[in-house]
């Protein structure tokens, strides 16, 4: 029998069950939902405080988070992000599914093979994505999975909006023809 750890992929429903059970584990052991984008906000806040210490007084962010009992820190969620990197590294090494890719095929078909263009846009898109996630207080993990499974109203609104806008954006960028190049 093949070792499942060395397979390049698992069925999506099995992965979904795995993530669902992992969220039971996270709630039961750490009293924490799975979420990624808060750690980026915490790192940013700690960085700004380290570079400009006065910011702790001048920016109301720090007092407000302290009052909520959620001051920026290197915590469970921060290590979760480190773990996601390591887990994906491990999984891809075990199966040989490594992709040192800069310009994905669909992107190349539509926008050409320039690495500089792809990387510049990836940087900007990453910034916009996390800015949006923090405005809404969650991302695909914190709202999409963890919030939706708690039946949070905010998360269902977020999921509907992001899916609608993401789909519209995809068709605006690549058109119907794009699906032939995925």
């Amino acid at each position: 029998m093949t070792n499942p750890l060395t397979l390049k992929s698992w069925p999506p429903y099995a992965v979904g069950v795995g993530i669902g059970v992992l969220s039971w584990f996270a709630f039961a052991t750490a009293d924490h939902p799975l979420g990624i984008s808060t750690a980026f906000e915490n790192t940013a806040a700690l960085t700004e405080k380290a570079i400009v210490p006065e910011v702790e007084q001048s920016n109301g962010y720090f007092a407000a988070k302290a009052a909520e009992g959620k001051p920026p820190k290197i915590g469970w969620e921060w290590m979760l992000v480190v773990g996601v990197f390591l887990g994906a590294f491990l999984s891809s090494r075990l199966s040989g599914d490594r992709s040192p890719e800069t310009v994905p095929a669909l992107w190349r078909w539509r926008f050409g093979g320039s690495p500089a263009k792809r990387l510049a846009v990836a940087f900007l898109a990453g910034a916009v994505m996390i800015f949006g996630a923090r405005l809404a207080q969650g991302c695909t993990s914190g709202h999409g999975i963890s919030g939706s499974l708690q039946l949070a109203a905010s998360s269902w609104v977020f999921s509907a909006v992001f899916f609608a806008v993401a789909t519209t954006t995809a068709f605006a960028l690549y058109g119907k023809e794009g699906a032939e190049h995925v």
Partner: protein, 195 residues
């Protein structure tokens, strides 16, 4: 500044499992994420939908047993609507969501590595602009940390049963779409070869 070492290790272990699952689920790939939004590849919806239904059953059982508490984000409509829109656009252009960007870095993808730097820059901008953003975030009201069962005064189990039912119908529909898709491809090849 730091959680306890036990909690940090627990976070790391949970993250390793999460990253492993994301990579095996193929969602650390640009083509799978954008393929979902072009309504071609339904992997993202299958994984998220299953995780939500399975997760909900366990979490509400744990809550009923007094073993866990909910952590619901507030319904600040301004922030959620604008944030959701920016997030959706950014995610499609980048081709990864925050968790899968980090997983894609683990897989070796260069564009995701630059994407992470961009995410950090976006977070710096968000914290710096936080005071100015408050009117936008709270502009359409604050409904508080409400759940759908709270709003409708119903049992969460009713919603979970509804989601599970919708999920089963979704699985059957996706099977139908898959079969239809295969048939139409075969038809095209036949047309192509006869021409």
């Amino acid at each position: 500044m730091f959680d306890s070492p036990e909690k940090l290790l627990l976070g790391l272990a949970t993250g390793i499992l999460f990253g492993f699952l994301l990579q095996k689920g193929r969602v650390a790939k640009f083509s799978v994420i954008v393929g979902q939004f072009l309504l071609k590849d339904w992997t993202v919806v299958k994984i998220m939908g299953t995780a939500v239904v399975v997760g909900a059953i366990g979490i509400f059982a744990l809550v009923a047993a007094g073993q866990a508490s909910l952590h619901v984000k507030p319904l600040l409509l301004g922030g959620v609507l604008l944030g959701g829109a920016l997030f959706g656009a950014g995610m499609t252009v980048l081709g990864y969501c925050p968790g899968t960007t980090v997983a894609a870095c683990g897989e070796g993808r260069r564009d995701a590595m630059v994407g992470v730097l961009g995410m950090f820059a976006g977070a710096l901008a968000f914290v710096a602009a936080w005071p100015a953003l408050q009117p936008v975030i709270k502009g359409l009201g604050d409904e508080g940390k409400v759940t759908l069962p709270d709003l409708t005064n119903t049992s969460p189990w009713l919603w979970i049963a509804g989601m599970a039912g919708a999920g089963i119908i979704g699985v059957l529909l996706l099977r139908g779409v898959g079969r239809f898709g295969k048939q139409s491809t075969t038809a095209k090849i036949r047309v192509g070869s006869s021409a």
